[in-house]
Amino acid sequence: MSDLDFTTRFPTGVVADERKGYEGYIVDADKLVEFATALRDEFGFDYLSSVTGVDYINEGKLEVVYHAYKTTGGAGLVFKTQVDREAAEVPSLYNIYPGADFQEREAWDLMGIKFTGHPDLRRILLWEGFEGHPLRKDWKEPYFEEDVKPFKSRWPEGDFHRAEDKNPYGANVQYPDKFDPEKWQPEGEDALYGSLAKYQTTDESGLVTDHITVNLGPQHPSTHGVFRIAAKLNGETIVNLKPVMGYLHRNHEKIGERNTYLQNMPFTDRLDYLSSMSNNFGYALAVEKLLKVEVPERAEYLRVIMAELTRIQNHLFAIGMFLNDLGAFFTPSLYAIEERELILDIFEMVSGSRMMCNYFRFGGVVRDLPEGALEKIKGLVLDRLPRKVDEMDRFLSENEILRSRTVGQGYLSAEDAIKYSAAGPMLRASGIPYDIRRADPYSIYDRFDFDVAVRYNGDIYDRYYIRLDEVRQSLRILEQAIKDIPEGEILSGKPQYTVRVPAGESYGRVEGPKGELGFYIVSDGKANPYRYHVRAPSFINLTAFGPMCVGLKVADVVAVLGSIDIVLGETDR
């Protein structure tokens, strides 16, 4: 990387990360803003993909890890900042990369890293009264048993009990000093509503109008789960809007750090539960990078086939549900679900489960295609799906009601899409042809002939239509993959339930159906990951949700949310 001459540009404060198995640069906290500005403006890394923290408790340090990319493609850049654990303060990159907004809030919430200069640093996944920062290594959850799995109580003297009987909820809950749960009065959500800023407007005639706050959700059918939108309205027009999430939070990452590497695989299914094969893919890539194993040819093809089928069924489902949000109640979505059902039949045949596939292993996949599966896939890809996609197109794309609800609404410009770290169809519908399968190819995607779907208007309609484009491109990839799939091994080496992962860090990312899905893993050479972080596209795509909705009507908010296509299992993790 000769063009990345950071040491000349920054003689002090920036050093290469020389720990074994690590890469990138370590930047001093006081140089961070300057460094990031130069990175964006001089070196062309305009897209901040991931922000997260790692708690190096033995060294008494917290490390903030940033992954930046160029939207013109190519490999990324990792840079880190280390701060003292006890006084963890890092300048916020909100002003340089607004896409850091939610991610910095998440790092504050779960890690306790204070980002100075962040305009709205509140907890994001946990509730306001939560004590402590759970991803710190010294934090223990209720029902805590041991630091890492497998737990010793299970074998050979497995005396069956339930964790909650042995360690009741109250016994391991940490309360703040002088806190009395009996007398506690919740603070309310002044912080949230305060962050929406209170306005009053006066029109020409001198009429003073107060803005009102309206909550959509958490129990609202349009939110696809338990998700809340706090909106400030002027009449029926949105003045400001903040998503509130975390109702489904289960601290996936802490669970992941207790698990062994293999045990995480079925847990990744539960992130974006509509596209578990893709989640498996991302996680397998991240661990394989550390393990440095080769994946056999046939397994690579199987992976691509499964990932593309996942994309098709996810996009069909997304379109169906989006139409539901627009008010076309269930006819389009059931048409889409029919096709999805046939794809899920294949998943069930191959992996044993329709949605929680758990199909990938490090160095391959778990089993070969059973008899008849390839014929089924061929039948769908070559015959049925192209027909049905065209039917969907005919059915919806020119519908005047759909068009009047979506064309020109919920606009996201190309600059904003990059700025807010939007990924996947959202980024591409705004005119940025950025697809990781092409921009930074993984697996065997460099062999296939396909176009990166891109649309230029950045409105809801384009975000709807680009999904049909992508399904068509996925069908193209599938056609080539099922034609070329070779015979052979499906797993390199013997199946192993404990893997020795060398110490180091890795970031594996795939183009999931919803956008860039990344897994950041730090290994300390033990059987369990030291740090396991998920860059969840559903979560980060919501950063742009507020700005996109300003000026729209309440009913359009639902359409905009539907066009982002979130899954709460992934948003809340």
């Binding site: 299970r154 069956f160 698990n259 062994t260 293999l262 079925p266 059902e341 489960s353």
Partner: protein, 206 residues
Amino acid sequence: MYGKGLIKGLGVTLKRFVNTYLDDLKWAGKRYYTQEGLAHRSSKDANGIFTVQYPEEKLPVPEEFRYVPFLVYDELEDGTHHNRCTACGICSKVCPPQCIWIERATDPKTGRPKQEPAAFSIDLDICMNCGLCAEYCPFDSIKMDHDYEIAGYGRTVHHLDELLKPASYYDEIRPLNSAREAAIRKEKEEAKAAKAAARAARAAKK
């Protein structure tokens, strides 16, 4: 013309509506409640109504389908049951939600551990149906069941007596897997026997 798109879309709906009845007529009453009808409705040529009239109709599950784990026992010729499980503990170690509890049996005379479980419990409320236990069991003992109708009113924990199912049941639900595993077992046993015979022959020579 304004409304053209709407009419086009409604045309799609109408076509689907008509197709439903056409398909019914074509199958002349055999479309529902028959295996062929069910197979047709979940094939790529399916047209019209997709839904399965559960519980009157049930989709056949594929061989690899996994629900909850169970233990396999062999029925020996003398009528006794032999539990394949040796209480090695691999399943309980690999289990992601740690829902498997195994108590290894000990010989009452010597106090040494025996290769069989004294107690085996699986907390099915915690089980995440991932199938890793079955995948890594070296003795083909723990397997994933096909019976998905186990809903109950309380919490579901299966102990040894509920977990054990005969090998014939396993052969029935997973014929291909079971045949493959049996072949591998046989091969291993033959190799072992050959080795033992060779060793015996060597010992005899000495």
